[in-house]
Amino acid sequence: MSENLKKGTGELFTNVDPDKMRAFVREKNKKMLSKITTVKEAVEKFVSDGDYVAAGGFGGVRIPVAVIHEIIRQGRKNLGFSGHVSTHDCQLLSAGECFDRCDAAYIVGLEARGLSSNARRVFQSGKINVTEWSNGALSWRFKAAAMGVPFLPIRSMLGTDTFNRSAAKEMLCPFTGKKVAAVPALYPDVAIIHVHRADIYGNCQIDGIVVADDDIAKAAKKVIITTEKLVDNDEIRREPNRTVIPYWTVDAVIEVPFGSYPGNMPGLYFSDEEHLSEWLKVEKDEQLFKEFLEKNIHSCKNFSEYLEKNGGMEKMNKLIQQEHLLK
């Protein structure tokens, strides 16, 4: 029976063997030390050309924009990345031409806002090695890694071209004899995650949707956290049921207020729909887009300057109001 089992033809970009990850993890310094640094230093130290990167959040919600800007500014190339509802983050990394391979579940689009013409150009160029997955499959791949097992059985993907272009494998359940899809653990080299609250050690709490960030933090070799607010360790300990990411997985912590801008930060500020529309618009004109990127990313010394250029506190206050009035 097993000779009829299908395998996806997509490339597997990362190691699947949990014993390799275990050996890495064993050597990590697990002391509860301060990991406070700057975005610039974190990217210099923890993101290298060729690394496989996973971004937390949900495309335009709770996304680590400051770190992605810095990755672009520092000119990282040949990255791999997981397109797990990758919307504005995919748009940014495409703008920086930072990657050459991608596990794609949701890329090039910005949900209801439309499609990024530049991200499409990049993905249509033939220069990107793409392996297909579903959002669920990528979530479960992170979960397998976070659980410390080499794969998880799932019941989606079967029978489709998404499966055929993935690196999943059909297998038979040892108990029911029924077919399931096995999806391999995904261990990113670096995870970049933006959270609501973190202490200096990297214990993190998140409000609203968690997406896959609990698992991504555990799955990744290195973890960079940006946080809206640095809080005292006592505050974490006051609500231990709310802690999503434990300190020992984390390598860098940076306080970046409005760090998800122009994305939404649940409970704090809404997305800047005007700015995202501008992105989609300028991408259609090569020269305009170049100038736009120069202004908003390359010429900015840091994320604060980007915020300043896009309306500063006045704009942020508007987005805060929008979030709370829910309009």
């Binding site: 992170f142 029978g159 998404t162």
Partner: protein
């Protein structure tokens, strides 16, 4: 002149499909408008889920993202995408709503690429997102889409999301959960279901003013036309009022026509 446009018609018909007490997983745009309309009319106990982690929010307005703050506004639970997908995998979720650039007669959907070279596609679309999971794992897949012969194709360039695959029993044979699959396709021309055995798309009801010719002319594959089919019941004034004044007062969705 009709009292409603195509979008209003499609949303209204889709909303009627959702029975009170069902659990539905929706995306932004038409799906969430549909679920909100159902909730505000005949199905107050409809439970709405979002794949990013929002469970049963008290939606103040339509979300712009499947994960934005509104999807967890006064929600019962805010969680992970994996947990939402696992709710679907356990059989808890009755309906999901999907779309795509192409659909075939078995309800298979393409939202990945157009072109015959996967490595260098003519057009790259987002890919599955959660669609493949939802269509695999929820009981009933709903598609609401304008109908034309470029979208209703004989062979999609890529099957992103499973319908009945090659028809017959092929969906279950592939390992997908029993008794799941495409349920309704609601277009600007009619409402379609699927033949119980062959699983081919089949006309269920024709919209007011539309003809069998419209059905045929706007599909590249042959849609089964049974001897008996219904005429679609038009949106009521109450449905239209709720849709226009409560669900989508700024006409973001219904303004599309």
């Amino acid at each position: 002149m009709t009292r409603y446009n195509n979008m209003e018609l499609m949303i209204t018909i889709a909303a009627r499909t959702l029975e009170d007490g069902a659990i539905v997983l929706v995306g932004t745009g038409v799906p969430v408008a549909t679920a909100m309309l159902a909730q505000m009319t005949h199905a107050p106990d409809l439970t709405i889920l979002f794949e990013a982690g929002g469970v049963a929010p008290l939606l103040p307005t339509m979300p712009i993202s499947v994960g934005d703050s509104r999807t967890t506004f006064k929600s019962l639970k805010a969680t992970t995408m994996a947990e939402i997908m696992e709710f679907c995998q356990t059989g808890m979720v009755d309906y999901c709503f999907l779309g795509g650039a192409q659909i075939d007669k078995y309800g298979n959907l393409n939202s990945t690429i157009i072109g015959d070279d996967y490595k260098k596609p003519k057009t790259r679309f987002p890919g599955s997102g959660g669609a493949n999971d939802l269509a695999s794992l929820c009981w009933r897949t709903m598609v609401v889409t304008p109908q034309n012969d470029k979208r209703f194709v004989v062979k999609p360039d890529f099957i992103t999301t499973p319908g009945f695959l090659e028809g017959g029993t092929s969906r279950v044979d592939a390992g997908l959960p029993k008794d799941t699959g495409p349920y309704r396709v609601i277009t600007d021309i009619g409402v379609y279901g699927y033949h119980p055995e062959t699983k081919e798309m089949m006309l269920l009801s024709l919209h007011p003013g539309k003809t069998i010719e419209d059905v045929k002319a706007n599909s590249s594959f042959e849609i089964l036309i049974p001897e008996k089919y219904d005429m679609t019941t038009e949106p009521t004034d109450e449905e239209l009022e709720v849709l226009r004044e409560k669900v989508d007062p700024t006409r973001v969705i219904i303004g599309r026509g």
